[in-house]
Structure formats: C-alpha cells, structure tokens
C-alpha cells in the first residue's frame, strides 16, 4: 500500500535548530556553472528499485530516472504513449505492446521487449516486492508463487521463473495475456512498477536498488543513504521530455522533519511550511506568487483491526467513530486550506468514477455518533483506544485532532502510537486499535482505490476485511468490454464498501508546494502532488 506525504510539515525542533545552524547562503545562483535543482525526500526511503518503490519519494525520483511505456497528462490525467509506440487489444485480455526503436539504458543496453519482460518477470516472482501484486492479473502469476504454509515459511519453491502470459514476440513487441479481461490495463502501465530494467541491474539487484540504471533523462550518481541522492543529466537521452535547463538534481533527505527553514534560507527549490509557519507564508505576497497547487487525489483514511476481537467488529461502532470526527474543522485548522474533508473512498472528479458523498456516515454528527455507540454496546470501561500511525509529525497532529474529537464526543480515551515501523506492523496485522492509512492512485482509475480491498479470503489483508460480493463486483468491472462500463461496476463495488464500512475516509490531500524564484512552469503531479521535474524551466 502506498503512503503519500503531500507536503512535509513538522517541527522537530532539534532538527530545525541543527539544520538552521548548518545552513549556508545559497550557492546555486551563479551565472555559468551547472544548474542543480534542489529537492527534498520527505520520508524514510529504503530502495530505488522500480519494482519495490511504493512511497511518494522514490516514485518521484524514479520518474526522472526511468521512462515508462506511458506517461500521464497532468491536466487531463489521461495516459499517452511514451516509450510505447502503441498498446492495443481486441478483447482486453490479450494485449500487444509495441516499443519505440533504438532506445537504450544509461549503460548502453537496449530498451526492448526483453527489458520489460525481465523486469516484470522478476517483480512477479518476488512477492516481497512492493509492486508484486500488480502482476496478479497476468496469466501464469499463480504458478510462479512459492508454496507457503500458515506461518509464512516457504514449503516448496516454485520452479517457474517466467509469467506464461508474457511473451517477447520480437525485439520490439511484447504480448501480454491476462487472466481475465481488464479494460484499464493500458492505463496502468505508466506506474513505477512497470518500468524496464537492464540485465546488469538484475545481475546485482542490491547495487541497482541503490544506484539504478535507468532509461530516463537523469542518472543517479550517488545515494548517500539517509542523507541525499544526487543525479546528473544523461547526455545521450533521445526522447523529448527532459528539462533543458537542469544539469543535475540533488534530493536531500528529511525523514519527517520540516525542510521549510532550508527553503527560506534559499537552500532548496521546493518546500512547504509546517502548520505554524503557514499563516506567515500565506500572507507573504511575494511568496504567494510562487505557489503551485494541484487538486488532491491522496486519500487519508482510518482502518480498524477487523482481524482482532473488539468493539470495532460492530458496524455501529465504526459508524460512531466516523460520525464523531469533525473532519471539516480539523482539516480547516490544520491544512491551511490544502486538504478537503473526504466523504468518499475515491477522489471525486479526480479519476474516472470518483464521486463525492458516497460515504453516508462521513458527516460530523455527535448525537448520531453517541446513539450508534450505544447501539454497539458502548466502549469497554477503562480501556484506551490506540491510534497507530507513522512518525510523521504532520500526521501526528492530524491524528491527535481526530483522537481529541473522538474523546470529546464519545468519551473514549485515546492514545497515539507513532511507530517508525508503521507500514510493516500494518501488513503484519499488528494493530490493536484504529490506524492511519493513506493511498494515492497509481493510475487514473477508480478501481485503483478499491482493488487492494480484494484480498481473496477471510481475515487477510491490512484490515482483515473480506466481502465476496465486493470482489465479484470488481471482477465484473475488470471484465467489462469498455472502460466506461468498467467504471460503473467499480462504482457499485465502492457502494458495497460504503455499506459494509470497513474503513473511514478522512481527508483528500491537495498538492501544494512553494518554489524558489528561479523556477518556472511548476506543475504538480495530479496523483502524488510532487513537482513534475520534467516540465520545469529554470531562469538564472
């Protein structure tokens, strides 16, 4: 599951103090020297391997290091062919992908059908990789998986190394056969997990995860883990989407702390202030001109440990929690207008099929909340509701406000449990209270907001929630003849989600970033909210 951080707030006072002390005036404003774009990495980043990159930061970096088959138009959010010459299918099951000729990786290897096939086969064969689940739709995925017992130990390794549904027809033609029709297949192919990889990369995956060999306009020169990533322009880049003015990029890692003071010192090109500095930034007329905004697509929502016994097993209890949260005021107070309260599971107007108001119980109604809690049998005396979340300081603020709201309206005492290993605790079903979740779409389709709820069996997944009817609806959507028909089926699936209510939508994040004086043409990615580096121009 993807965790996005649209804007980094935070006030790790110590870190701020230290970084302020360590700041030197910007040395980037020189006349003839190479132009280095200075960006941030907001959270802990562990890998740069395409098949394993699932957080906003490594997705943003790989976006300039790799070229995908399709890219997305930031305005219309429609995919268009980029490395692909054409992507066609007659029945939405068998797809023929033609690749543009004469493309190479940064090490000279050709970018051909084999480069995509080896990347996809590798990711499909390694369930520990983040993007592995995207390949469940491919024919032959099941046969590739190792047999695993209940404790998660591998009982029998699968001898199959390749997806049977994936064939290299000729150098530049790839044929894909899916398990079932999926109208949105071409839309999905621009995602990070579908990038090609060089053979040299697979020969030493560990090295490649630190220093990827891409086919995009920039190549990584060094990643000093926990400190910064450096990339420089790849001179032999032949396609046209590349920022002409930028010679190098430096991403500095902030790990949840605020980068705002560095931005103010002129040491960064893009940043966003923590809540306390927001008012000052918004009132600064000069700074306000350098604000890029994008409508939000990232949903922050609250999950229940439905794999654990507890009051949350009762839908009335989940409704009570949802209606006790004053989304509007919380978002208003903490986001500075850059997020909107959510009342649906799919971002309205952002992707096909997204509609506002699908969540009936996402309104703030303390009376109804109390009544629902009573109906559910109340909250056990003396117990504390734990709220699991990551160490991100902005999220801690939001969830403190959520907890306050629950405590004030339902009288349920709460405790925040920030945890650096939050994502792994979640995937191991380790929570015993409600917990934070975040999702921004990998590709523009409402199905993408819903598919991860389809876990296939009782008790599985991050939430331990399973509903056969819901999964059938999703499958119906996949098998629809056209994308439009599919979208309607997916909407019906969302309606089932809304009725069963396993999770609570909380807010949609809008993307917003302030940028330095020398940048121009700043456009934010409509999905992740990150700056689209390829569109930038720099004036010195």
């Amino acid at each position: 599951m993807r965790q996005a951080r649209i804007a980094t707030f935070a006030a790790g006072a110590a870190v701020v103090a230290l970084t302020v002390a360590g700041c030197t005036p910007s040395d980037t404003v020189e006349d003839d020297g190479p132009v280095t774009l200075k960006l941030t990495i907001d959270q802990d980043m562990e890998t740069l391997f395409p098949g394993d990159s699932g957080i906003a930061d490594n997705i943003a970096i790989l976006d300039v290091v790799y070229d995908g088959l399709v890219r997305y138009d930031p305005e219309t959010k429609e995919p268009y062919n980029y490395v692909a010459e054409s992507i066609e299918s007659d029945d939405n099951t068998v797809w023929t992908i033609k690749i543009k000729p004469d493309l190479t990786f940064q090490n000279g290897e050709p970018v051909d059908a084999a480069a995509f096939a080896r990347s996809w086969n590798y990711t499909a064969g390694h369930p520990e990789l983040y993007s592995n689940y995207f390949f469940e739709r491919f024919k032959g995925y099941e046969e590739m998986q190792d047999e695993i017992d209940d404790e998660g130990e591998v009982v029998k390794e699968s001898p199959v190394e390749e997806l049977s549904g994936l064939t290299v027809a000729d150098d530049l033609t790839l044929e894909v056969e899916l398990n079932a029709p999926f109208a949105g297949f071409a839309t999905m192919l621009g995602y990070t997990g579908f990038y090609p990889v060089a053979q040299e990369c697979l020969d030493d995956v560990e090295a490649c995860a630190v220093k990827p060999i891409g086919n995009g306009p920039f190549q990584i020169t060094e990643w000093d883990q926990g400190v910064s990533v450096d990339a420089e322009r790849w001179a032999d880049y032949t396609l046209d989407e590349t920022p002409e003015d930028i010679d190098a990029i430096n991403w500095r890692e902030y790990a949840g702390a605020s980068s705002w003071s560095d931005f103010e010192a002129g040491d960064l090109d893009v940043s966003y202030p923590p809540p306390a500095d927001l008012a000052a930034a918004q009132e600064d007329p000069e700074l306000s001109e350098r604000l890029a905004e994008a409508p939000g697509a990232a949903l922050t929502y609250i999950g229940f440990p439905l794999y654990e016994d507890g009051p949350w097993q009762d839908k009335e209890f989940r409704k009570a929690i949802s209606m006790a949260i004053d989304r509007e005021t919380i978002v208003d107070q903490l986001s500075g207008g850059l997020a909107t309260p959510a009342d649906s599971w799919v971002v309205p107007d952002g992707v096909p099929g997204g509609e506002a108001g699908t969540c009936e119980w996402c309104v703030f109604d303390p009376e109804a909340a109390k009544a629902a809690l009573e109906k559910a049998g109340g909250w056990p005396d003396g117990e504390t509701l734990t709220i699991g979340l990551s160490n991100d300081e902005t999220e801690i603020e939001y969830f403190k406000a959520i907890g306050d709201s629950i405590e004030a309206n339902l009288g349920i005492p709460y405790e925040l449990k920030p945890n650096p290993d939050f994502s792994s605790v979640r995937s191991e079903q380790g929570f015993d209270g409600i917990f934070r979740n975040n999702w921004f779409p990998d590709y523009p389709l409402n199905e993408n907001y819903l598919a991860f709820y389809a876990v296939g069996e009782e008790g599985a997944g991050n939430f331990g929630w399973y509903d056969k009817e819901f999964e059938d609806k999703l499958a119906e959507g996949d098998q629809a003849a056209t994308l439009d028909e599919a979208v309607v089926k997916y909407q019906e699936a969302e309606a089932i989600l809304a009725e069963e209510f396993p999770t609570i939508p909380f807010r949609f994040n809008a993307g917003a970033e302030y940028y330095s004086e020398r940048l121009d043409d700043v456009v934010l990615d409509p999905f992740s909210g990150a700056v689209r580096v390829r569109a930038l121009t720099v004036t010195e």
Partner: protein, 309 residues
C-alpha cells in the same frame, strides 16, 4: 547573634536550643524576597497536587473548533486561551505542573539519597571506599550532562512504558538522576572530613558508639547544611532541564502534558500571532525557577554563618 531572639526566649535553656536550623529559619522569614518566593512555590505545589482546584476542564478535552482562541480573562470560558488543538491553556497549565514538579522532586530526592550516602561513606571510611566513590564522581562529572541525557533518552525514545503519571516521567527521571548526584556526594564528603575530627565525634567513638550511630547522629547533622542549600537550586535546574528535553521531544511524553511540552508546542505559534501559547507556560516556569533560585540563595546565606558576617 540575634538580639530579638535572645530577648524573646530570654533564658539559658532557650539559648541552648537555638540550633543552626532555627537560626536559619529566623533569618529567612524576615526577608521579603524569600516570603514571596515561598508563596509562589507553594502556589504551584498546590496546583500540582490539586489541579482541579484551578480548573474544572479536563486537559484532554480538546475541541478543534475552539482552536487558537486568545486569552479571554478569568470568568470566561477560556481564561488563558486555547492552543492549536483547542485544548484549554489553563487546564493544561494546571495539570502540566504535576509532571514538571514531580519529576524535579523525584530526581533531586533520589540524587540526594545517593549522593549523601556515597559522600558519607567516602568521607567517613576513606581508603578504598573513598577511592571508588571519588573516581566514580569524577567519571560522571566529565560526561557532559545534557549531551548524555539527550543521547540516552533518544536511544530509549521508543521504549513504551505506559501512560500513568509516574511512568511518563520515569525515563527522564532515571537519566537526570544518573547525572545529578555527584555534587551532593562531593559536598557531603568534604563536610564529613571536617566534622569527623571534631572533639565530640572523637568522644563518641571513645565511648564505643558504632560507626552507624556516629555517622547518622553526629557527623551527618553537621555535614548536611551546605547540601540543603543546594536543593532548591537543583530543583530549579531539573525543571529547566525538563523543559529543554521536552523541547527536543525526548522528555516527558505526550499525551502527558508538562510545561516543557506546552512550551515546545507553543513556540512555533509565537510568530503566527498566538504568543500566549508560549508565554503562559513560560511565565509559570520562570516564576517557579526564579523563586527556587532565590530561596536557594537565601538558604545558603542562612545556613552558612561564615557568609553572614
């Protein structure tokens, strides 16, 4: 000495009962700065012990719709305003005094017991006991106090002890005690060295008194004076240290509230137009620390006759 005192008691028995402590008390209660300090400290101690006397609002009752309200004055709903989450500042201040003061008391109390015991043993027995204690004191003294505290607390930052009043202050208490006992040990050792050669101690020993009796009955009462004067200043120091650690995010832990945490939360809003979030807890902290320092100073003057000449 004091004429007024002699006149009041006016007989030999009264003069004989004039101990160092009663002398000190007499001189202290005639200083207005001491009286004011004492009142301020009493006020905050009462607040820490019975926060509900000062506010009927729970510090955890935060309604985000009431966020960032400026102080409205007493008699209104939010006399000292609210913070960025809509929590009542007065309620936070009153309930936040407990962890701050309790931490200081626990740290100084424990450090005092450790320091006095070790100093007494070292000064009394000398020899290898003294060697071990003195070297240990030196080792702890060369470790930079705040650096070590920050290091240890960051290391154990993710240890979960629970959320009771005592468990939330446990980690900072242990760490601050660990680096806070050396001063007492040194002072006591020096005083013991002085006191144990006095005639009455020799006399007691000649009469066959046990080591324990000599130590606690004769040596310690004469050696404890200068240490007592250290205590208020040390308490002030710990309250200050708590604020520093909270500011760095490694002191008393949220959801518990302490003045340090309030200062940390409030500090980022000063420039945003809500200085009361910082000023209220800061004023309480400064008043307490200042009063304790004044008291410590006065106590030192009073307990050391050589200074009052």
């Amino acid at each position: 000495m004091s004429e007024a005192a002699s006149a009041a008691t006016g007989n030999v028995a009264g003069a004989a009962s004039r101990t160092l402590a009663s002398d000190a008390w007499r001189s202290l209660r005639r200083r207005p700065d001491v009286i004011i300090s004492g009142l301020i400290i009493t006020f905050f101690v009462v607040m820490a012990a019975f926060p509900t006397l000062f506010t009927s609002v729970s510090p955890r009752h935060c309604v985000i719709g009431d966020a960032k309200i400026k102080p409205q004055g007493f008699g209104n709903e939010f006399p000292l305003g609210t913070d960025s989450f809509g929590c009542d500042t007065l309620a936070q201040l009153a309930h936040g005094s407990r962890p701050s003061l309790l931490l200081a008391l626990v740290v100084v109390g424990t450090a005092l017991v450790i320091g006095v015991t070790l100093g007494l043993l070292a000064g009394y027995y000398l020899g290898w006991v003294d060697f071990v204690v003195s070297r240990t004191v030196e080792v702890f003294l060369v470790i930079p106090y705040l650096l070590a505290a920050m290091l240890l607390l960051s290391l154990f930052k993710n240890v979960d002890l629970g959320s009771g009043t005592f468990t939330t202050i446990m980690l900072p208490a242990i760490v601050l005690t660990l680096f806070g006992w050396m001063g007492y040990a040194r002072y006591v050792r020096a005083s013991v060295l002085e006191a144990k050669n006095l005639d009455y101690v020799t006399a007691a020993r000649a009469l066959g008194a046990s080591d324990l009796r000599i130590m606690f009955r004769h040596v310690l009462p004469n050696a404890i004076g200068p240490v007592t004067a250290l205590v208020p200043t040390a308490i002030a120091g710990v309250i200050g240290a708590e604020a520093v650690l909270a500011f760095l995010g490694i002191g008393v832990r949220p959801p518990a509230i302490s003045w340090g945490i309030m200062i940390e939360n409030g500090s980022s809003w000063v420039l945003g137009g809500y200085p009361h979030m910082l000023l209220v807890p800061l004023a309480a902290l400064l008043a307490t620390v200042l009063s304790l320092v004044v008291l410590g100073d006065a106590l030192r003057d009073a307990l050391d006759p050589r200074l009052s000449a």
